[in-house]
Amino acid sequence: MIDSKQREAELLKARERLARAFARLETIIGVMPERIRLLESTRDKSANRIKEIEALLEREKAITEQRQSLSDGATEEANLIASKLEKAEKQIAERDIKNAELEKNLEHRSNELLAYEKFHVESLEREEKMLSVIARLEEENSGIERSLEMMKEERESLQKQLSEVSEKDNSFALTFTQDERLGLLKTVDALIERVDAIAGNNGELTK
């Protein structure tokens, strides 16, 4: 509990605060008419501005309605285009499937072609080898024929020698001893065997 002096002091402070508050209020009240005029002016301007904004809003509303109408039309057109696009996409999908099948078929044919080409190349190689073998065989054959010709010539020469020897043998039959005749006969037999052998070889080669 505060004493009377403290109460007086508190009261004095409170009264001073109240006086200051009143002074502040009076100051505010003093400028209130001007402020009220200013606020009224602002209010009038705001009212005019509101009217302008309302007019703009009406115009904007009309424009928005037009835009909405255009937007509806555009939406309808977009839906139509979307429908066409959907059909086109469906057709493209079907074509893609067909293309895939064709590509698969083409790949299969391509593989077949590669196999045929490989076979063809191998055939050509085989043909080339065979031609080479044929050429070599023909060359060998020519050589053999030449050998045969030479042997024929040699045979004819030997036959000629044989006939000459026979003639000599006949002419010198009486002059040769028995041993000489046997020696000549062996020589002739050896020549005949040799000719036969050559003839036999030629026969195998010509086969």
Partner: protein, 92 residues
């Protein structure tokens, strides 16, 4: 201008100077009435005792009055400051 007046309180006469005779007479009448009421409640008590008890009552009333006044002034100052803030800053 202070002038001298005569007042009677609880049968005794007092000669006093005052600038506000009417107020002083009214206060003296109220004091005399309170003393007489107390005298009826406490018969036989000497006037000094009655005066002390009455002074004590008056002091108590004054203390209550001052506290009420203090609270009222604080409340009023708060309201005025809130009002000023509302006007000046647009908020309380």
């Amino acid at each position: 201008m202070s002038e001298s007046i005569k007042l009677t309180i609880l049968g005794s006469e007092y000669s006093l100077r005052t600038n506000d005779e009417e107020l002083l007479r009214e206060l003296a009448s109220e004091l005399d009435s309170e003393l007489k009421d107390l005298q009826q409640k406490l018969p036989g008590k000497p006037p000094t005792t009655l005066a002390v008890l009455t002074a004590l009552n008056i002091s108590e009333q004054q203390a209550h009055t001052q506290m009420n006044e203090l609270r009222e002034i604080e409340r009023l100052a708060d309201e005025i400051e809130d009002l000023c803030n509302t006007i000046e800053f647009g908020k309380s």
